[in-house]
Amino acid sequence: MRDAIARHVHDGDTVVIEGFTHLICFAAGHEIIRQRRRDLVLCRLTPDLVYDQMIEAGCARKLVFSWAGNPGAGSLHAFRRAAEGKGAGRLELEEYSHFGMVARFCAGSARLPFWPLRDYMGTDLPAANPLIRRVTCPFTGEELAAVPALNPDVTIVHAQRADAEGNTQIWGLLGVQKEAAFASKRVIVVVEELVDETVVRADPNRTAIPGTIVDAVVVEPWGAHPSYAQGHYDRDNAFYVAWEDISRDPAKLRRYLDEYVHGVADRAEYVARSGGLEHLRAGERLAAGVNYGY
């Protein structure tokens, strides 16, 4: 992970760590904080705790997002302090709805300059964000909303498994990871498990991201904690709840970063420092395989 971040994430980059509740790569976020990257443009539908931590750590110049809360548990207070002008540094905001962010990744993955959607009429979002514009249908004359393509410098995707070439398989919630990866100049895949190419080839319909677009593969078990990895471990809801209290107090948040991010060398130490995470280990709900014969 250290090398992958050093090689592919640079100061000033537009960075995407995607994953909708599921498979959020905190391991990559923590390594970016440890390497003290600055002036990043952070993009995610839901900034979640990972970007709240990176904002407090001073990595971010700008945030591109659509829902900045602590899912089911409260606020992202580092984000709020910055947005309410009570934070240390300035944070530029570029705001959409979920559909708008998804559409931006779709345009990026198709290498089109924009994506059309029927959205935003009657809302104040276009007034708040001049990049939400309109396009006229050449067949009906109807006016639709349009958002610009998002083509990040680097996208980091966490997944259950990949082979050494980066052919990556994901199951459970898929979010916008495929679109974000195809939209990106560089792609880092972080997996719970490195598997032989034969495992991927045995079930090609499960492959979400082809190795041909992947620049680095990192093996990092528990790399998505406190979010989850279907079939590997559950979401650490207690930590999400605790975050409300930690992030509300900048001093407490700094102490958290010192102890769990700067204070550890890598993910293995983080897991140990967290007192082990075995209680989150997933139970078994195996699906049967299908026949690819002919």
Partner: protein, 237 residues
């Protein structure tokens, strides 16, 4: 004393709005409870869809977020968020959407973005998430919020999710596919839109007086001539 809480009353009222076999865009919290109640009683074939991509979810535990793994295990389908918003929501396949927020105004517009000005907010809220498009595309929406004048101003500070008369005109004038908020379910009463789009008091919960409801909104609330009365939630289920 009533043997039920306002939350139970709101849940039961929301559940009663859901028809069997309908496709519902679910949020966590009270809407999730309402859907589970409806499935356990009169709507066993309700199809729950979450913006996270889980379709036909049958969570074995109370989901703590709309991306809870329990929504995936045993669901009918998991699809990408591009499919959720394009093939389901924008396609018109969602019959009911649930909405809530810090502010609901007299036309059913909802604010989940900022209190104060957008550039210098006194309180920065999470933002739209999928709420803007749900408000626009769901065939109809149910708004759930507790009554108090701060939560029900005459005008919201920011329109995140458009109601019946939004920025620039009515839903028809703006070409919104969905019918908008057909009911605003509060802890004391039900508000419904008059033909001109303004919310009016339509039905009271048992034992609630009209002036209590009027005191809970920040504008002179219209009161319908025929006021419905909502039954208390049954104790079974």
């Amino acid at each position: 004393m009533s043997s039920y809480t306002p939350a139970e009353m709101m849940t039961a009222t929301a559940a009663a709005e859901l028809g069997d076999g309908e496709v519902v865009f679910v949020g966590i919290g009270l809407p999730n409870l309402a859907c589970n109640l409806a499935r356990a009683t009169h709507a066993p074939n309700l199809v729950l869809i979450y913006e996270s991509g889980a379709v036909g979810a049958v969570p074995e535990r109370l989901p703590v977020s709309i991306g809870d793994p329990a929504l995936v295990t045993g669901s009918l389908m998991v699809c990408s968020m591009a499919d959720v918003f394009q093939c389901f929501l924008q396609n018109g396949r969602i019959e009911v959407g649930f909405l809530g927020g810090a502010q609901v105004d007299r036309f059913g517009n909802i604010n989940t973005t900022v209190i104060g000005s957008y550039d210098r907010p006194s309180v920065r809220l999470p933002g739209s998430g999928g709420a803007a498009e749900i408000a626009i595309h769901a065939r109809r929406t149910l708004v759930i919020s507790r009554l108090n004048p701060r939560a029900f101003p005459a005008q919201v500070d920011f329109i995140t999710s458009p109601g019946h008369v939004a920025r620039g005109g009515t839903r028809r004038e703006l070409g919104m596919p969905g019918a908008g908020p057909v009911k605003v379910i509060t802890d004391k009463a039900i508000l419904e839109a008059d033909p001109d789009g303004e919310l009016a008091l339509a039905a009271l919960y048992p034992g609630v007086r009209v002036d209590e409801v009027k005191a809970g909104v920040g504008w002179p609330l219209r009161v319908r001539a025929q006021l419905g009365c909502i039954d208390p939630p049954s104790t079974e289920a």
